[in-house]
C-alpha cells in the first residue's frame, strides 16, 4: 500500500524533516506520520502549512512512501536521497548520525 508523509526543511538549519503523529518534526522518515487516505493526507498537509506559517519549517509537501518490515521508503529517488542524506561523503551526512 502507498502512504503519504509530510516533509519539509527546518527553517533554522535547513535540515530535512518529517511530520510525526505527535505533530513534531523528526529527521528520520521511519518516525513520520503516514496518511493512508486523502482526508488524513490533507490533515497533515494543513498541519505542515500551519507550521510553515509559524516559521518552524519551509515549504512542506506530501511525498509517497511504502512501508515494509518496519521501514518506510520513498517512491521517488529524490526523496530517498533526502531521507538518507548525501549520496557522497557518507561520513558527513545524515548517515553518519552526526547532525
Amino acid at each position: 500500500m502507498i502512504y503519504r508523509a509530510l516533509t519539509a526543511n527546518r527553517l533554522d538549519d535547513g535540515r530535512v524533516v518529517y511530520l510525526t503523529h505527535q505533530g513534531s518534526w523528526t529527521e528520520w522518515l521511519n518516525e513520520a506520520a503516514l496518511a493512508g487516505d486523502d482526508d488524513r493526507a490533507e490533515a497533515i498537509l494543513a498541519r505542515g502549512q500551519a507550521e510553515a506559517a509559524a516559521a518552524r519549517v519551509v515549504e512542506p509537501y506530501l511525498i509517497e512512501v511504502v512501508e515494509g518490515d518496519g521501514l518506510v521508503a520513498p517512491l521517488r529517488y529524490r526523496e530517498a536521497i533526502r531521507a538518507r542524506g548525501p549520496s557522497v561523503r557518507l561520513d558527513l551526512g545524515k548517515q553518519a548520525g552526526a547532525n
Binding site: 533554522d12 538549519d13 535547513g14 535540515r15 530535512v16 516559521a55 519551509v58 529524490r78 533526502r82 558527513l92
Partner: protein, 147 residues
C-alpha cells in the same frame, strides 16, 4: 592580490546589516519564505536538498594564506569542518545554520576582505566574461556604482 577598498567595505557592511535584520525577521515569521528567498539569494544563501548552502566569492580565484585560514575557521566553527571549492571560483559551505549566517558575513569574512554578495546565480553577476567591446561597455555601466 585582490583587496576591496573602503568603499567596498562600507557597502558590504551596509548589505550585511540589512541581511542580518532580514534573517531576524524571517526567523520570527515577519517575513515569509517567498519574501525572504530573493533576499537570501542576493547574499549567497541557498536552501538545497539537505540543508542551507552558503557561497563565498573568491575574487579572481586567488586566496592568501590568511584568507584560507579564515575559511578553514569558518568551516570548523560554523559548519562540519570542510568547505567545497567549486569551478565558479568560490567556496561553498553545505551545512550552515540560518541564524549564524549573519555572523559569518559580518564578523568573519570582512576580516579577510571577502563576501557573499551576489554569488547566487539568480542575482546579477559577471563570471568568465568574454565578449565584444560593446557588450563589455554595457556591462560596465550596469555594475559600476555612480554617486
Amino acid at each position: 592580490m585582490y583587496r576591496y577598498d573602503e568603499f567596498d567595505h562600507a557597502f558590504v557592511q551596509e548589505r550585511v546589516t540589512q541581511f542580518s535584520d532580514q534573517v531576524r525577521r524571517r526567523l520570527s515569521g515577519e517575513l515569509t519564505e517567498e519574501q525572504f528567498k530573493p533576499l537570501r539569494l542576493m547574499n549567497g544563501l541557498y536552501l538545497q536538498l539537505h540543508a542551507y548552502m552558503l557561497r563565498v566569492a573568491i575574487p579572481y580565484g586567488t586566496l592568501s594564506a590568511r584568507q584560507l585560514r579564515k575559511l578553514a575557521h569558518i568551516a570548523r566553527r560554523y559548519d562540519k569542518g570542510y568547505g567545497h571549492f567549486t569551478t565558479r571560483q568560490n567556496i561553498q559551505y553545505n551545512w550552515p545554520k540560518l541564524e549564524e549566517t549573519p555572523a559569518i558575513l559580518r564578523m568573519q569574512l570582512p576580516l579577510v576582505w571577502m563576501a557573499c554578495i551576489s554569488t547566487s546565480a539568480s542575482s546579477r553577476r559577471i563570471s568568465g566574461v568574454s565578449s565584444s567591446f560593446g557588450q563589455l561597455y554595457w556591462m560596465f555601466w550596469r555594475v559600476v556604482k555612480w554617486p
